[in-house]
Amino acid sequence: MNKVVKSIKEAITLCGLKDGMRISFHHHLRNGDHVINMVMEEIANMGYRDLTVNASSVFDIHAPLITHIKNNVVTGLEVNYMGAAVGREVSSGIMQKPVDFRSHGGRPSDIENGKTPIDIAFIAAPSSDNMGNCSGKYGKSACGSLGYAFVDAMNAKKVVVITDNLVEYPLYDFSIQETYVDYVVCVDKIGDPTGIVSGTTKITRDPVGLMMASYATKVIQSSGLLKDGFSFQTGAGGASLAVAKYLKDIMLKENIKGSFGMGGITSYLVDMLEAGCFETLMDVQCFDLRAVQSIRDNPRHREVTASHYASPSAKSAIVDNLDVVILGATQIDTDFNVNVHTDSNGFIMGGSGGHSDTAAGAKLTMIVAPLTRARLSIVVDKVLCVSTPGNTVDVLVTQRGIAVNPRRGDLKERLLASGLPVVDIHDLKRIADGITGVPKEVKLGSKTVANVIYRDGTVIDKIKNTL
């Protein structure tokens, strides 16, 4: 038996694709991914229409989707994150049906529960054998973890693995196993390595970013959570990386043995693992080459599935055991609701990803953001889109002070006792408005272009079209 077929077209035909079906993709190749574009181009050429694309994320490289949407090849879009290139078009109202945004935990939950059944999953795999045992750890397009793809493989009616590194059977260190896979296609190139992972992720040199990182680190220290057994997640932004570095220094100095680092793994979390700050890294996605190397070579660096990471319907998930998560925001309102879906003009340029999942799970959810960005305050009276509800957000750290959610009076007391500059969030808004002036209200249209589906299944916000 051999599952290898000669082309994507043949795989599509063999899978029995029909108009109106739901097909899925993962985003581990990020802005270097060629697979969505290759598959969609083939599907369009074959004359299919009215498909729903369920992708864990779409990036700017996926701008050809816009044409497929305009030609009615794609009429449904379900994502956890959407880059600005596609987002801008969606915001302008090119789709008849609103986009459904889920979180990284909500997506696998809805696939497993049958709310969004996948007809065909196309799984980009940096290495695969002829039976579909596949991995992201090896090959010229290596991306490390394949965490987001497991749910697709395990639940889709048909599964196609697309690789550019076909290896001898069996690929012993597989992530996704052959039992789920129907067909394997070998192509020249599944992606551009420079867009898949960055060579290095670097700490910011921006003094404001470093200032915020220093405050964020002190907040963690003062919270009482930084002790043996500590668990932590942070992103790949420059200021987040600085927090990881500062935390590492403190943990080593004070001999604190943490439990696990979660992510979105970067070289800085790998450094913390190797220095003994954590027992293990739980990796749903690698952000840089060091992380890819580490997940390949270090048994304490574990690949985890998106469900294990954050599914709200799993019997338990890692986010529920997180002590501290550091997150960003494009806007935060005085009720601590956070927007990571749209920019200040209302255009889609992001998505929750794991934002709302980790915020709900972590004991301390911290938003780190500069008080003003591009002449606008990030603190507003009401966010243009609620991505993460304010009752799951504990602290906002800016360069001009730290605002604590009134629900966390205990934390406020601790921060004040540590001499940190705690400021009421309304005062932060006043300070920002004093610098930037009060911007005119953004006028949006009446058409819903996207639903923001919270991890519990409720639609917490509807994104309207831009004018």
Partner: protein, 288 residues
């Protein structure tokens, strides 16, 4: 209390926006070396507007104007003085006469705008002549609240290499501290210029503190925290100073002329230092 003075280029709006949020006790908004001659006018307007609209509530604001041998310094003062900054820093000051020239024009601008408060001065001394005239400069005007040593220009004037070790400015540092203290004012050390070398910065700052400097200028926000830490009294120093003041009180009550603490005689200079330490600790209010 002024421990750190952070240089910020006057032509960078992004940096001016956050200048007071970086932890420095003072920021020096620079119209001189950081700004090319073609940009002098735009930087002057930008700094004026920053003072007017941003307020800088978080820290003291010092403006470094251009030196009096240029065509720019009067225009700098014309624009800046109406905004009432805390201090003006004239560069390349070499004599008391330089100060008189600047002071006279400042007075003229202040009168023109009906500003009653005399704006203070912190002369930047960075020439061989300036160092030799340090006391004359320091005592030349009541506006002068501190003097500041500029090591880079000075070593060019001395025709020697500027090193991390700083042996070449050792005499100048000592001379500056002596002059400032004799005139009863504060004195600030030249910045440490290797942004990446945290350890070198700390050693350089500790050395300057040991010589008697009040604080140190920084060219990078990344240096501010270390400089603040070095020039703040330590908890041990505060504890010791508190004990000194307590035992002196006891000595007074018991009518003793001399008293010892931890096996050492407590005399007037020790009491004075203890008083200064506690004063600094009080001024910082725990923010160190």
């Amino acid at each position: 209390m002024r421990r750190s003075m952070l240089f910020m280029p006057g032509n960078n709006s992004g940096m001016l926006l956050n200048a007071d949020a970086l932890g420095a006790d003072s920021v020096i908004l620079d119209l001189e070396d950081a700004v090319s001659p073609q940009e002098k006018d735009s930087a002057r307007i930008l700094v004026r507007n920053a003072l007017k609209y941003l307020g800088y509530k978080g820290c003291e604001v010092i403006i470094r104007i251009n030196s009096i041998d240029t065509d720019f310094w009067k225009k700098d003062l014309d624009e800046i003085i109406p905004m009432k900054p805390d201090m003006i820093m004239p560069p390349k000051v070499s004599s008391g006469m330089d100060i008189k020239v600047i002071e006279n024009y400042m007075g003229e601008v202040e009168r023109r705008h009906g500003i009653e408060k005399k704006i203070s001065l912190i002369p930047l001394i960075e020439t061989a002549l300036g160092v030799e005239n340090a006391f004359e400069i320091a005592s030349s005007s009541k506006r002068i609240k501190a003097i500041f040593l500029g090591g880079e220009d000075l070593t060019a004037d001395l025709r020697c290499k500027r090193t991390k070790q700083g042996d070449e400015i050792f005499y100048s540092r000592g001379r500056m501290v002596m002059a400032a203290r004799a005139a009863g004012i504060d004195v600030y050390d030249t910045p440490f210029t290797d942004v990446e070398d945290e350890e070198g910065l700390r050693l350089d700052a500790e050395f300057a503190k040991g010589l008697g400097f009040t604080g140190k200028a920084c060219i990078s926000p990344r240096h501010v925290q270390s400089v603040n830490e070095v020039f703040s009294p330590t908890l041990e120093e505060i504890e010791y100073a508190t004990e000194v003041m307590e035992i002196i009180q006891v000595a007074k009550e018991q009518g003793k002329g001399a008293i010892s603490l931890r096996g050492k005689m407590i005399d007037a200079p020790i009491v004075e230092r203890a008083r200064q330490t506690l004063e600094a600790a009080k001024a910082l209010g725990g923010a160190f």
